[in-house]
Structure formats: structure tokens, C-alpha cells
């Protein structure tokens, strides 16, 4: 196709890396390719990348460097936080609390822990996807060892009141661990774990224009969790395995970029979001789910399209060079309907008709306009043909 436009609105699935991220990774793979555990110069050079990345990350959160554990990404961070904390605290109790809109890497880990004999409470959310503090207060009991709540929901961009939740938990029992899945929030919000009562926090590299296959878990120094991966004792035994030096270097660089001019970047995302939401509202039979504007995450718009199947609309947009996702890309591997959308009470007819648009730093207002223009053209055609 000649002059094909490409509009990537699936940045909550993954992002294109910054050029500077690519450059530092190439350097770490080609010149400074040593193993950090080696005693010689090559090892020392490699270690420098890890140290710098750790400094960058710790600085962005105002925490200590030793509180950052590198992982293979968001899924591993969530697994490590939940299983590691549950194993470490099992003598204190066997009750964990989470919400009904978590990502599969929390949800399925909780299911695993349930099989291992832990008791799990799943908190409901309101129609905007926000968890109720009262329900949390009621759920906490003597046996509770951990609460895990996501910062920004990946499917609809609901923002949970993390600081209030942290305060509430600590006011009831300071020894309950508070884990936050911040995979969709880090880079969009300035997060201060120490002030928000967060003990454990998961982050992924490839959602912030960093590389895939790397992420980190913040572990407050006062918190003891058990490792879930064993081996050569790297990262103080918390996460064995040769450090992913290019990955960590890339992640560190992405953190530096994303938090440089942070406020401005976020403003730009909100501007894109407002523009899209406004345009969608002017189309017939389109419902934007959850809150919009500053009450919601800057990068995610979830919308239901009456009378059109999400998959069909997705492919029709793809045909015009626009890439979006149906539900969340992670749950799209298992067609079946999104847990979050059901959780917020989206009506049955829209469950299978919802698309997620998610922005990144490379998107422009022109792209939003183009997307709206294409939707305006496609929707009537697609609505004409449906299951008879």
C-alpha cells in the first residue's frame, strides 16, 4: 500500500522504545557485554549499567537503591511480590485481599495461592472501576497479611486511590503488606511509595518505551519476602540469574526519559485523551467507559461501540493502519469476555464491543483526528452487517 498511515494506539499493550534506549542497549550488548559476576574489567563495566539504572529508578521514586529488584517484567514482579510475601508471612496469617479487576498476573497468582491454602478476598469496584475503602476496611481481619491493588487499571484506565488505601491499611495494622501493581501507572504519575504506604510495587519496562523482558519490583527495606527464583544468588539472593544488563540499561534510560519533562508529557497525553473522548462522544452509539479527564489515567480510553463486534472493528481499523486492542491485549489471548468490564457493570451488549485506545509519547493530535474520521466512516458500514 502506498503512503500507508500507521497510527499506534496500543501503548498499554507495549510501546516503541526511545532511540536513546536502543542506543544504550546496543552498547551494553556489543561493547560492554560482560557478566556482572565476573571479577575482571568486563564484569565491572557491565555492573556500571546496572548501578546507573538502579540509581535512576530509585531516584524517580525517592527510595533507596537497594530497594529495587530487577525482574523479567511486570508478570514476574507481581508473582514475586505476592508469592514471596505470602511465603514469608504465612506464620502470621493466611488471608490476602485484592480486587476483581486485577491483571491476570495478579489474579492467576492469587488463584495459585488459594490452591496452596491461602484465603483470598476479591473486593468489588463501582461503575467507574474504583474500589471501595469501606469494603476494604471490612475485609481486613486478624489473619490478613497482604493487600494487592493496582494503581491504574489496564483495561479502562481507572485510577485507584492508592495513597488513601495505604493510609487506611497502615492505620488498621501497619504490619499488613501493601502491594501495588503500578505497571500502567509508573511513568504517568509521580509515585512516592514511602508517603503512600506502599511496601511492594511492580513495574514493567516495555510500557514506558523501554525494552520487553525487564522490569522491577520495589521492596521496602523493612519488608521481608522470600525469593521465588533460586540460583547463583545475584541481587542479594532476591532474584538469581545473570542480570539482564542490556534490559536493565534500557529500562534505566527509559525511566530517565519518561520522568524528564514528566508533567509536560502527561499534559500532552491528557490532551490526546480529551480530544478522542470528545470526538467519540459526538459519534452515535458510542459509550466511553469509566471516568474521563484528570480523574482517570492519561493514556487509556475504553469505549463500547453499539452493534459492532470489537474484533471486527479492530481489524477494520487495522486495515486503515490504526492499531488498537479489544479489551486488554493480555486478556485478548483468551477470547472470552473481560473481567474488568464485567466488574464495572458494563452492559452485556457492549461487553464484546469494547475497544481500548492507549497513547504513548509518540502519538499526535492529527492521529486522533484521523482515527475519529475513520471511525465515523466505518461504524455505519459495519453496523449494517451483523449476525442475522
Amino acid at each position: 500500500m502506498e503512503n500507508r498511515k500507521e497510527v499506534y494506539f496500543d501503548n498499554s499493550a507495549t510501546t516503541r522504545v526511545f532511540d536513546s534506549v536502543r542506543d544504550v542497549m546496543v552498547e551494553a550488548m556489543t561493547s560492554d557485554y560482560g557478566n556482572t559476576s565476573s571479577r575482571h574489567m568486563k564484569g565491572v563495566e557491565a555492573e556500571r549499567y546496572i548501578r546507573e539504572a538502579r540509581e535512576e529508578i530509585a531516584g524517580s521514586l525517592k527510595v533507596k537503591e537497594k530497594e529495587i529488584v530487577f525482574t523479567s517484567g511486570g508478570t514476574e514482579s507481581n508473582n514475586m511480590a505476592l508469592i514471596g510475601a505470602a511465603m514469608a508471612a504465612r506464620r502470621k496469617g493466611n488471608h490476602l485481599i485484592t480486587t476483581c479487576i486485577e491483571h491476570a498476573s495478579v489474579y492467576n497468582t492469587m488463584s495459585f495461592l488459594e490452591e496452596q491454602g491461602f484465603r483470598i478476598t476479591y473486593l468489588p469496584v463501582d461503575q467507574d472501576g474504583i474500589v471501595s475503602l469501606d469494603a476494604l476496611r471490612e475485609a481486613i481481619c486478624d489473619d490478613t497479611i497482604l493487600v494487592s491493588i493496582m494503581y491504574v487499571n489496564n483495561e479502562m484506565g481507572a485510577v485507584e486511590p492508592v495513597a488513601e488505601i495505604g493510609k487506611l491499611i497502615k492505620s488498621i495494622r501497619p504490619d499488613i503488606y501493601f502491594h501495588v501493581d503500578a505497571i500502567q501507572a509508573y511513568g504517568k504519575y509521580v509515585i512516592r511509595p514511602k508517603k503512600e504506604g506502599i511496601d511492594l510495587m511492580s513495574v514493567s519496562g516495555h510500557k514506558i518505551h523501554g525494552p520487553k523482558g525487564v522490569g522491577f519490583l520495589y521492596v521496602d527495606e523493612k519488608v521481608r519476602i522470600k525469593p521465588i527464583i533460586f540460583g547463583g544468588g545475584q541481587q542479594k539472593g532476591m532474584r538469581s540469574g545473570t542480570e539482564n544488563v542490556p534490559g536493565c540499561a534500557g529500562l534505566g534510560m527509559a525511566v530517565r526519559e519518561i520522568y524528564k519533562d514528566h508533567d509536560e508529557r502527561v499534559e500532552r497525553l491528557y490532551a490526546l485523551k480529551d480530544r478522542l473522548v470528545q470526538g467519540l462522544s459526538s459519534l452515535e452509539g458510542v459509550t466511553v467507559h469509566g471516568r474521563t479527564g484528570r480523574d482517570s489515567a492519561p493514556q487509556i480510553v475504553s469505549a463500547g461501540f453499539e452493534g459492532v463486534r470489537a474484533e471486527v472493528l479492530l481489524h477494520a481499523l487495522e486495515d486503515r493502519g490504526i492499531y488498537v486492542s479489544s479489551g486488554s491485549a493480555c486478556s485478548s489471548n483468551h477470547p472470552g469476555v473481560s473481567g474488568t468490564l464485567r466488574g464495572i457493570g458494563v452492559r452485556e451488549s457492549l461487553l464484546d464491543s469494547t475497544l481500548r485506545f492507549s497513547f504513548g509519547v509518540f502519538n499526535t493530535e492529527d492521529e486522533v483526528d484521523y482515527c475519529l474520521e475513520v471511525l465515523r466512516e466505518l461504524l455505519p458500514v459495519l453496523r449494517r452487517y451483523r449476525r442475522a
Partner: protein, 393 residues
């Protein structure tokens, strides 16, 4: 045991009279084709009703057996020790060595069956049987002879060289590909059509395939799935030329013009028409579908009749009387099941009515189709001309 060669048994083609050499040559060609991609430097030869595959260098035994088990026409694969005729005493020693290496546990009953292809050989078959039995019993006292129901049937064929073998690994059976002409398979992403293609190909038929793609209603992944399925079937049948026909416009046109409960049946009639046109272009002698009576609304006898009415070429439906479970069993055996059940929508179901007609009447369907007369011929022509061809190996 380090086997160097295989004796390949075939059954049906042994009885094909004067055409027999054609079938044998096709089988030799198929075996050669399959083995040349593997290590071993195999040569494949035929000799008086026998096919041999012989390695000239080291090879992976399991890999070679697996490859041979994908060649239609083979009923048995016998790993074989082939020796020069260096005298009767040497034969005895070689047989003892063979048994020693081929069977770790010697606690079995056996029988020796010798055959002299070479009647010049100084010892008669019966005597060979007795003498070899004796040396085996002497060498391995745990073994016993059982002439009626032996655990191990040791065959010794005295020909130009001497073949010693005792194990037969089953092959897929059927007839060698390339001996029965070519047919066009209507391949969807489901469980049935790959099995149907496999079954017909097993009778020696070369396959070509057609898939109907309906973007944006079916995804690029659905198409990839069909390509993957064609590749899996091609492991048995050799390369398959896959025609991918864009069917969206025709489908929408039918949707606009015809009653919705007849949508599926009319759509299938157009699929058959298009597949047949491509089939004729490629010199195919028949069409193949995965239909089975009553499986869905479009596969009742009435529907099959209405669909069939548009075709001139014979339509082969090898699964017509199979239960779903039987089809699933074959798809598991030929390794297409896992790919078939990947959840991508195919174009037959996207507009399916809540209550499609199950007993369509040919006259009425033909009447409905007259509403398409304005544009449909041109659309069919475009669909055929713009098809994408993918070679699946």
C-alpha cells in the same frame, strides 16, 4: 543396534498388475524426497518387490522413522541389518550379533523364517531356520523357540545380499502421493477439513487447497492458522498450493440481497463455485470438503444436495459418515487438532443467522440467487483473479 538400512513394506500396490512399476516408482520418489532433507545420505532403491533405504553416513533413527511414517503407501518399516554373503558361518555369527544388539532383554520366544531369493545358496531355507535357531539358543540360553506364537519373528532373506530383520514399525498405509491425480480441498480453520484432505491424500491424491478469507471479519491470525494447518497436512502430502480468496464483498452482497436464513447456504454455493473454477484452472479432478451429515445446518442431506448442485466436478466428502469424535481422533493422530482449535472466527460463522434453514429447497435458493444477478459474476471473477497463492511446505 546401529542400523544402516531399512526395508520398506508396501501392500496394496503389490497387486496393481502392469501398472505396478508406476506405483513403486512414485513411492520410491516420495521416500527419496522425504529422506533427502535428513542426515544420513540415504539412497532409495527398489529390487524385486522390495524397497530399500540405505544410509551412507550417521543418522537419527527416530527422525528417519518418523519421516517414513509420513509417507503414504508404506505399511511397514523394518530396520534391517544387511550383510554381504561371506559364507554360512559368517551368517550365523552375524545373526548372533544382531540378536545380541537388537534385544537387551533376551527373555523372549522366537522363530526364524528364512527365504532364499537366491536359489543358488547352498543351504535350503528349512535348514537355515534350524541352524540359526540353534546358534541363537546356544548364544543366549534365556531365549526359547516358539514356532506358533513367537515374541520375535526373525526374518533372514538370502538374496544378492542377506537381509536380517525382526521388527516392523507400522507405516501410514494408503497409496503413494502422485498416483491418483489432483483434487481441490476446501480448507477452513476447523477440525474437519484438514482431516478430510489427509484422508483423500492417503489414497495417493495430490492436494491443492482454497481458503476463504473475509477481512475485517476474519483476522490475519485466522489466515495464518489456515496456512499452518496446510503445512501440517503437507507433512504427509508434500507441498500444498493454498489459494486464499477474499470473500468479503461477496458475503456482504449476499447479506444485502438475500434472506438472512439462507445466507450460509448461498454463501457455501458460491464457495463451491469459486473453488471449482480454481480447481479446473489447476487441473484438479475433484473437490474435497470436510462435511459430515447433520453436523451443522449447512450439512443436512438437504443442504448438501443444494450445495452440491452447483458443482460439475465430483465432490468427495470422506468424513460424511463420521462422528465428531472419530474426526477429532484422526486430527489428534495427524497433529492438526491443536492448531484447529485455536479460537479464530472463520468466515462461515460471522453472519450466521439464529435459525438458518436446515431443509433448503433448491428451487427457492436458486430463486433467491437471481437477486444477485446484477453484480455477482463480476465479483466472483474478481475474487478468483485477486486470490493470493501461498505455497505451504
Amino acid at each position: 543396534m546401529n542400523y544402516r538400512s531399512f526395508l520398506i513394506k508396501y501392500a496394496e500396490i503389490g497387486v496393481k498388475g502392469k501398472n505396478r512399476y508406476l506405483f513403486e516408482d512414485a513411492l520410491v520418489k516420495q521416500i527419496h524426497h522425504r529422506l533427502k532433507r535428513l542426515e544420513g545420505g540415504f539412497t532409495v532403491t527398489k529390487e524385486a518387490g522390495r524397497i530399500y533405504a540405505e544410509a551412507s553416513e550417521a543418522f537419527d533413527f527416530d527422525e528417519v522413522v518418523n519421516a517414513l511414517q509420513h509417507v503414504f503407501g508404506i505399511v511397514g518399516i523394518c530396520p534391517m541389518l544387511q550383510i554381504e554373503d561371506n559364507g554360512y558361518e559368517d551368517l550365523k555369527a552375524q545373526v548372533v550379533r544382531y540378536i545380541g544388539e537388537a534385544y537387551e532383554n533376551k527373555n523372549f520366544t522366537f522363530k526364524v523364517v528364512a527365504r532364499r531369493g537366491n536359489k543358488q545358496y547352498p543351504v535350503v531355507s528349512d535348514q537355515i531356520n534350524r541352524d540359526l535357531g540353534e546358534v541363537i539358543l546356544n548364544a543366549y540360553p534365556e531365549t526359547r523357540v516358539d514356532v506358533h506364537n513367537p515374541d520375535v519373528l526373525l526374518r533372514v532373506e538370502v538374496r544378492h545380499k542377506i537381509n536380517i530383520f525382526s521388527e516392523t514399525i507400522p507405516g501410514p498405509g494408503g497409496m503413494p502421493i502422485g498416483t491418483a491425480g489432483k483434487a481441490m480441498l476446501l480448507l477452513s480453520g476447523g477440525i474437519d477439513s484438514p482431516v478430510a484432505g489427509y484422508m483423500v491424500a492417503k489414497r495417493g491424491v495430490t492436494l491443492e487447497a482454497t481458503y476463504f478469507h473475509a477481512p475485517p471479519y476474519t483476522s490475519e491470525r485466522a489466515k495464518q492458522k489456515v496456512v499452518d494447518l496446510a503445512k501440517l497436512v503437507a507433512k504427509y502430502t508434500g507441498p500444498i498450493k493454498l489459494n486464499v480468496v477474499n470473500f468479503t464483498d461477496i458475503q456482504l452482497y449476499i447479506y444485502d440481497q438475500c434472506p438472512h436464513d439462507e445466507l450460509t447456504i448461498i454463501m457455501r454455493r458460491y464457495m463451491m463455485r469459486i473453488a471449482e473454477a480454481i480447481a479446473k484452472e489447476s487441473d484438479c479432478l475433484a473437490l474435497i470438503t470436510g462435511e459430515s451429515i447433520g453436523q451443522v445446518a449447512s450439512q443436512t442431506l438437504q443442504s448438501l444436495g443444494v450445495t452440491n448442485a452447483v458443482c460439475e466436478l465430483p465432490v468427495m466428502r470422506p468424513l460424511i459418515a463420521f462422528d465428531k469424535q472419530d474426526i477429532v481422533d484422526i486430527s489428534l493422530k495427524i497433529d492438526t487438532y491443536e492448531t484447529s482449535v485455536l479460537p479464530y472466527e472463520d468466515c462461515c460463522t460471522i453472519f450466521v443467522a439464529k435459525h438458518p434453514v436446515t431443509k433448503p429447497n433448491l428451487k427457492r435458493i436458486e430463486m433467491s440467487e437471481t437477486k444477485l444477478s446484477e453484480k455477482i459474476d463480476e465479483m466472483v471473477k474478481t475474487a478468483i483473479e485477486t486470490r493470493e497463492v501461498i505455497r505451504c511446505i
